[in-house]
Symmetry: C2
Subunit: 584 residues, 2 copies
């Protein structure tokens, strides 16, 4: 028996595209006999959020389901072709409002309408996940019999286990197997978001399940970027010992596997019960062997995956918003440099990218020289639009019309906001998508100007700490022959908004700052624990104070491509107004 | 026996303030014998979102609980003083991570530590509510016996019922009463957000519960503004027929009631099972007796409550962010006029407000005259800062430095963004909080410039449609002797970003637009139904297209004070990138 893993790349609510993908996958392959596996919620896309309860979405989806059934029943029955497909199952109340919406697996075979064969039991409801808001959980394990094969069914989160969950779908399936007959395979239809380090955990847990249920485990995951969330694919098949097959990351993929390859090799081994709940996910990514603690450094293979994911996320957002041009405001600093470099490395044929440099009276001449050198290396056109004159005109107008001089913070921020206005004027003019250039450290302490350097359609660096920005630049230089001028990496970071300003005047070193932030943002460490890990009370209180006070800037931030378990953005939900409760 | 309803006004995570409030309420009143009722989550504030799982918050809260217990056990026992207080009950796993967090009622009596007496059963998880993300529900109804009185306990959502919920806590309490003994009273500790029209539903349902459980019903709700969400208070007591007492709206309140006043008057009546789930809340607020349908007009008493609530929400946000000055960019149009007027009406002693007028070459002279007349009426200083010169300088710079003229949309948007930069320069200079002036209609169709006229610390009009802006202005003029110049209300709306521009060139009439938007934003109506309700396919497709395409602007919007069941903001969660699935 053949198993086809269809790692699809489709967009939410694009029913026309989804239908075409489905028919193509079933018809377009040479040997389509066997069991075709499609991802979780393949028929709708994921995550849908409120679309699930919006009537125009519901109507379109129901119409689409009817189209599939009409198509299926127009085909000659063929029991050798079967598909398991993720989708939504709606039940309406007497007012025709959705009373129960279930995240289900449909069974498809030519000549027959779609049929629900399993309902997802474990609905993730932490961080970016709100599934309990929209879906009604299933409560029954399911074994499907197809052509003499017994198939254990799971949907995404169902494969994970936690002492914090009241149910364990794998255990339920195991109980069912023990009270009936063994299964020949276990499948998991997934729509699992990417974060760095998650893939190896999926493999380990897959092997555990294979061992527990004494059958090979097939995992099919979708590919796509949905606003800030990336789906990496990485579909795979394992037995209890080995990874038999692994699909591409961030790329559509279809693979035919043959069941006998997996037989006779499952065996028991110790079960660790790998968890995938927030308790497990949000571990602080800290090296506790240093004093003070430091962020764990990135491995080369991590950086490969990060660059791949960020480029993919950027291109997905651009494609869906209809952009083929990109625009970056270059300052001569390391953040805008990395954003521009990643965008350039991600560029597809026919796309364009442009940089714009907007110096003020506080911009060092080296900033321009480094920006120019970078753009020459990257072969990117660099426009220059000094703000000095506008800045001084505005200062005069405030003195003359308002009767008060622009000074201090007001004078710093107006430069940043003028640049944002000009950047977007250029974006409107050229039709280019503007990239945000902020990093996670800046965003965490509010070290940016709202409506100024914080603007952008999407942030590609906002889930990376400043020290990781440096690591990635060095990695890129190693890989691409020093494409980034060394001077950009070695100069002292500065916002250049006043005379001789440097970041180190207002912040701890980035090495210390990033480690403190990781402790705080993991939600795990108390301020007292941070102190015990080697930081001074003074710097902890300063960083924690900056963090809590800058919530209002994050609330108005653009989507940040998510590459970590805990990120700013949709899954980060913290009130703007709150007491700081610094308690030590 | 006396019941004290403490409608407290306290801030989230302000443990010091909460402790003081608690002690003051218990000690500072003349006759403190009896049962003191405090709102849901009084001890922490609400909504907390991720604070619930952040270690610094948890540590501070646990320390605070210990302080209360220490204080209590230092007091002489007095069984005549009892309090029921909402709070959180944490249970930790072996890694000291929060395994179960329960939303509970604590019993307090002097001399004794706090004791959990009830756990909230029904956790709201729709719209702005994410309680299932953070809390573990209770499953047991509770009757507390105090000094011979039997008290039925409920927390907030527990009082509501829905066919969409699998449990009905009122029914559970009723079953418990039937299997034991009658109760003398039923109490509901609430933290219930405001929206227009909700109060009367609370009263009706309270009477039903009184009838079902054959006892008076006491409801205590908190007061406060938490970012965009308002808590209106409105604590009350009912029997099955009558509203016996009703507390203030949007104001701290404490009331002593005596139980015998309620006795002997409960009776059965028909139960309607009033619902409070999203299915019931998000009914489209449309008058279906017109063709096309129209928004229901606001009643005078609704507008009183709205003005009260908006002023309260603005002041709450300002207080918590530490602002005593306000700043509004006046255009001479109706939105900025209403924002300025409401802010002025809300002004407290010692606070200041300023308006700034920033004309471009497209601003009509009447815009200045009307702005000036308004500011004279309101006695608000008006600054003038023309952008004409900056605008033309920037246009020249684009032609000269970029080699391309600023035209069309780019030329319109730069004016709006220049104004935003100048507005915030003034805000930085004077230390004033900047008010956003957008309305719900504009926000829904993206009829604003990102980082331009869409900026602000908080939006006070963003939950009101444009036609409601007009209604409120007329109501204010009726109430405050035509304080708003009539010319502002009667002139044709325009963004004044190009020659002779008017809103009606790009949009349907606001009457039609608002009704279509209400249909769409209620999530209830399909596009086909909108057509059947009297709109043309062309205008529906246009409005729906504008709505779906402008999600990216809403994602970066400031908090909008919530006055309706369904609002943009935290409870509105729609992907930016999605297919439009216009299906007819």
């Amino acid at each position: 028996m053949q198993i086809h893993l269809h790692q699809t790349h489709h967009d939410i609510a694009d029913f026309h595209g989804i239908f075409n993908t489905f028919k193509f996958k079933l018809n377009g392959i040479a040997e389509n006999h066997g069991i075709h596996l499609f991802p979780e919620l393949f028929l709708t896309g994921y995550p849908l959020a409120d679309l699930v309860v919006q009537r125009p979405f519901i109507d379109s989806y129901l119409k689409f389901l009817k189209q599939i059934d009409a198509w299926s029943t127009s085909l000659d029955p063929n029991p050798n072709i079967n598909a398991l497909i993720g989708g939504l199952d709606y039940h309406f109340d007497d007012q025709n409002l959705p009373e129960k919406v279930r995240n289900v697996a449909f069974h498809f075979t030519p000549g027959v309408p779609l049929k629900v064969v399993y309902t997802k039991i474990l609905l993730p409801n932490y961080d970016i996940f709100d599934e309990e808001k929209y879906f009604t959980p299933g409560d029954t394990p399911s074994i499907l019999e197809l052509n003499g094969l017994r198939i254990g069914l799971l949907i995404c989160e169902d494969m994970w286990v936690s002492s914090h969950h009241s149910v364990d779908p794998v255990q339920q399936l195991q109980n069912l197997i023990q009270s009936t007959n063994p299964v020949d395979l276990v499948v998991n239809l997934s729509g699992s978001p990417f974060h760095l380090g998650k893939e190896s955990k999926r493999h380990s847990r897959g092997k555990e399940i294979s061992s527990l249920l004494q059958a090979p485990f097939f995992y099919v995951n979708r590919v796509g970027g949905e606003d800030e969330v990336l789906f990496d694919g990485g579909s795979f098949a394992v037995n209890s010992k080995d990874l038999i097959y692994k699909g591409n990351l961030f790329h559509e993929d279809s693979k035919r596997l043959v069941i006998p390859d997996f037989l006779g090799i499952t065996e028991n081994k110790e079960i660790k019960n790998q968890e995938n709940t927030w308790e497990d996910l949000f571990k602080a990514n800290l090296n506790r062997n240093t004093t003070p603690v430091t962020l764990n450094t990135l491995l080369d293979e991590d950086m490969e995956v990060l660059l791949h994911g960020l480029a993919f996320g950027l291109q997905e957002y651009a494609r869906k918003c209809g952009f083929n041009k990109f625009l970056v405001a270059l300052s001569g600093g390391i953040d805008s440099t990395l954003a521009l470099t990643i965008a350039k490395l991600a560029l597809k044929p026919g796309q364009e990218i442009e940089a714009i440099y907007m110096p003020s009276i506080f911009s060092a001449s080296i900033s321009y020289e480094l920006s120019k050198a970078l753009c020459e290396n990257l072969q990117i056109p660099l426009k220059s639009l000094p703000i000095k004159f506008f800045h001084s005109s505005i200062k005069h107008a405030f003195s003359d019309n308002i009767g008060s001089d622009l000074e201090g913070l007001a004078d710093e921020n107006i430069q940043s906001r003028l640049r944002a206005a000009l950047l977007y004027a250029r974006s409107n003019q050229s039709g280019a998508m503007t990239l945000n250039t902020s990093n996670k450290s800046e965003i965490a302490v509010g070290y940016s100007t709202l409506y100024g350097d914080s603007v952008g359609a999407i942030s590609i660096l906002g889930d990376l700490y400043k020290t990781e920005i440096f690591e990635l630049c060095r990695f890129i230089n190693k890989k691409f022959e020093n494409i980034i001028p060394e001077g950009i990496i070695t100069r002292e970071p500065s916002a250049e908004l006043r005379e001789n300003q440097t970041d180190s005047q207002s912040l701890p070193t980035y090495e210390r700052l990033d480690a403190m932030l990781e402790g705080i943002l993991s939600y795990r460490l108390s301020l007292k624990e941070l102190h015990e890990l080697g930081f001074t009370k003074k710097e902890i209180n300063k960083v924690y104070g900056l963090y809590t006070k800058s919530e209002y800037k994050r609330r108005q931030f653009c989507p940040i491509i998510k590459v970590r378990a805990k990120s700013f953005g949709f899954g980060y939900r913290v009130p703007i107004c709150k007491s700081k409760f610094v308690n030590y």
